[in-house]
């Protein structure tokens, strides 16, 4: 009986990130005790909304990272889609057309990423870095370094509207998270990400069209980044190149803290969501407890490093893995 329980427990901790759940519980509990205004619905809504753009983008990034890649360009794509839709509105374009075009452009950027990674046989890091710089430049060109306004009021539905009492962005996030989570786990096409992430060679030998999948994964990720940009623009009814500075690193950190591995083959949507909840809570500690926000960055960095250290330690302990230097190296194509 006891061994059965042990087996179940170790399987559970293999499947879900027990450590993270405990950490979330601790932070949540501490906040609830120390700050009376924390546990209110409106406050929790604010906490969640502060992280919703990262959350949506993290969903797509999860699949990218599981497949062994990385996408830095989302950090530039998010403000770019906000600026682009703003530019369209300033050209007196109608809402449906403006939104559709922006979404299409976002997908196109992702396709470009995938295409270049395939053709140039280069690491996704450097390709998406180049795209990030390029798209960032496009943002500067379109916005002329300033902020764009002149959004139609109806557009604010995206960011400020509600569906059955839940803010629309959060609603979108839930829907995406559930659907993508199920697809990643059950649908054969999405699940390929794990095989490709473990070994592209082996995946190819199994008949998986790695190049095709890459095109899909990066355009899907860019799509979500574009959506995040639209939502952000809608919330503020403005757009500027300073939106979401550094967001790509926060998004990647969210996925990694959740338990995915940069070398690919590990991770899941539920883990990412846990990572998101954890970081959103940590993020809100400062406002809740009235701590100076200067410390935000320091705590964020410490939390990220601690999270991966612990996760690594637990994994090594559990599987008794032989450590090879290859594991830590940046790329293991």
């Amino acid at each position: 009986m006891e061994t059965r329980l042990k087996e179940y427990a170790s399987k559970l901790s293999e499947e879900t990130n027990i450590g993270l759940i405990i950490a979330i519980a601790i932070v949540f509990g501490t906040l609830s005790i120390m700050s009376p205004s924390f546990l209110t619905l409106s406050n929790l809504r604010v906490v969640a909304m502060n992280y919703v753009a990262e959350g949506i983008m993290a969903l797509g990034m999860t699949i990218v990272i599981i497949s062994g890649g990385i996408d830095l360009s989302v950090g530039a794509l998010m403000p770019f889609s906000a600026i682009l839709v703003g530019t369209f509105f300033n050209m007196q374009m109608g809402m449906p057309l403006a939104i559709t075009l922006t979404v299409l452009v976002s997908i196109a950027v992702g396709l470009l990423n995938g295409f270049m990674i395939n053709r140039l046989k280069a690491d996704s890091f450097i390709i998406t870095l180049a795209t990030m710089i390029g798209v960032g430049g496009m943002s500067l060109i379109l916005s002329r370094g300033g902020t764009i306004s002149g959004f139609p009021l109806g557009f604010s539905f995206l960011g400020l509207g509600s569906v059955i009492g839940i803010p629309f962005p959060m609603f979108l996030f839930f829907v995406f998270a559930v659907i993508i989570g199920i697809l990643l786990r059950r649908h054969r096409y999405f699940h390929q990400a794990y095989y490709i992430g473990t070994s592209t060679e082996a995946a190819r030998l199994c008949g998986i069209r790695v190049e095709r999948f890459r095109l899909f994964v990066y355009s899907f990720n860019s799509l979500l980044a574009g959506v995040a940009g639209l939502i952000t623009a809608s919330r503020y009814l403005s757009a500027g190149p300073t939106f979401g500075v550094g967001i790509e690193l926060r998004v990647i950190a969210t996925v990694i803290v959740g338990g995915a591995s940069l070398s690919g083959g590990r991770g899941s949507i539920d883990r990412t969501v846990l990572g998101m909840i954890f970081l959103a809570l940590v993020n809100s500690i400062f406002i809740q407890l009235g701590l100076p926000t200067y410390w935000k960055q320091v705590v964020f960095g410490v939390v990220v490093i601690a999270a991966v250290m612990i996760e690594r330690y637990l994994r090594v302990k559990r599987t008794d893995a032989e450590e090879s230097w290859q594991d830590f190296m940046l790329t293991s194509r």
């Binding site: 990385i70 270049m116 140039l120 046989k121 280069a122 690491d123 890091f125 450097i126 390709i127 870095l129 180049a130 795209t131 990030m132 710089i133 390029g134 798209v135 960032g136 430049g137 496009m138 500067l140 060109i141 002329r144 370094g145 690193l249 990647i252 950190a253 990694i256 591995s261 940069l262 070398s263 100076p292 200067y294 410390w295 935000k296 960055q297 320091v298 705590v299 964020f300 960095g301 410490v302 939390v303 990220v304 490093i305 991966v308 250290m309 690594r312 330690y313 450590e323 090879s324 230097w325 290859q326 594991d327 830590f328 190296m329 940046l330 790329t331 194509r333």
Partner: protein
């Protein structure tokens, strides 16, 4: 002639020298009064100093097969601490403050290296965390303000000139030349190429891979520190928002210079030429009068071309 063409096709440094020469020639022909102007050249050179130093440190880490995202924040933190030492924390001696600042930047690198090697963690996430920690620490220490009231002797370093050439530029060239020599000749540093391509084999052959990586990150931190000293000295302040985004610029320059994420590739002079190329392009924009907003797009294109060129010699 055949030989020359072959070298051109295979060596990134040669390609970059050629491209840089072409740009210099073109700019001199079309803007003879403003480009070769000593004031312009001086500004060009000085602007390069900070990026070159950080990029060279980054190159070494890339050769190792790693990555250091914390360099920009390291620069900021070192600048803040060094200037605080001089302005508020009672260190009267400039050399002492500089040494302590450099020690701090090296320590940041050491912490990176220690965490990465002891836990076998991916340098991306560790240096990402450190980037946040160092930048946050810089803000906390400086409370967001500039740190001023620096002793005049400190500002000499960043502002003096020898025969009209800024001291910073001369020192930077000397430092990277020495480093390049060491990397080529000193096996302890040269091992980085082996470690970067086949770390497990390197371990088998008896190389202390952990130590090489650890030292590599210290080197990167140290270069960030040197850059910080020059920067603070030149502008005369310590500032927690210095070097924002510098890590990605350094990375791009290193890759243009021939370094690669898979490790085992790259060189000091290649990186220097990469930084020079990007600086010349930026300067070219100023000469032509093009909006600086297009600069980023052009930089991205240059980066893509460099990657594309690398995929050829990959054969």
């Amino acid at each position: 002639m055949q030989e020359a063409l072959r070298i051109l096709k295979e060596k990134r440094e040669a390609q970059l020298i050629l491209i840089n020469l072409v740009i210099v020639v073109l700019l001199t022909i079309f803007y003879p009064s403003s480009f070769p102007n000593p004031g312009n050249l001086r500004a060009l050179g000085v602007g390069m100093v900070y990026d070159v130093l950080v990029a060279v440190g980054m190159t070494y880490v890339l050769i190792l097969g790693g990555l250091d995202l914390s360099v920009g924040s390291n620069v900021a933190l070192t600048s803040v601490v060094t200037t605080l030492l001089l302005a508020k924390w009672g260190i009267a001696s400039v050399p002492v403050a500089i040494t302590m600042g450099l020690g701090l930047s090296a320590a940041v690198g050491a912490i990176n290296g220690a965490i990465i090697t002891s836990f076998s963690l991916n340098p991306f996430i560790v240096t990402l965390g450190m980037m946040a920690i160092a930048r946050g620490a810089a803000r906390v220490l400086s409370a967001g303000f500039f740190i001023t009231d620096l002793p005049k002797s400190f500002e000499i370093l960043g502002n003096a000139s020898v025969f009209g050439i800024p001291l910073q530029i001369i020192l930077t060239l000397v430092i990277i030349a020495v480093f390049d020599f060491l990397v080529r000749r000193w096996s302890i540093l040269n091992q980085a190429y082996f470690v970067g391509t086949q770390p497990d084999n390197a371990e088998t052959v008896g190389i202390n891979v952990g130590r090489v990586i650890f030292v590599g990150f210290i080197i990167s931190g140290l270069f960030s520190g040197i850059s910080a000293i020059f920067l603070s000295s030149h502008i005369g302040i310590g500032y927690s928002q210095f070097a924002g985004g510098m890590e990605l610029r350094a990375l791009a320059a290193a890759v243009v210079g021939g370094a690669d994420f898979t490790g085992g590739k790259g060189s000091v002079w290649g990186t220097f030429l990469g930084v020079l190329l990007l600086a010349l392009v930026a300067n070219g924009f100023v000469q032509v009068g093009l909006s600086a907003y297009w600069e980023q797009v052009v930089n991205a294109l240059i980066l893509i071309i460099a990657i594309w060129a690398a995929s050829f010699s990959e054969k």
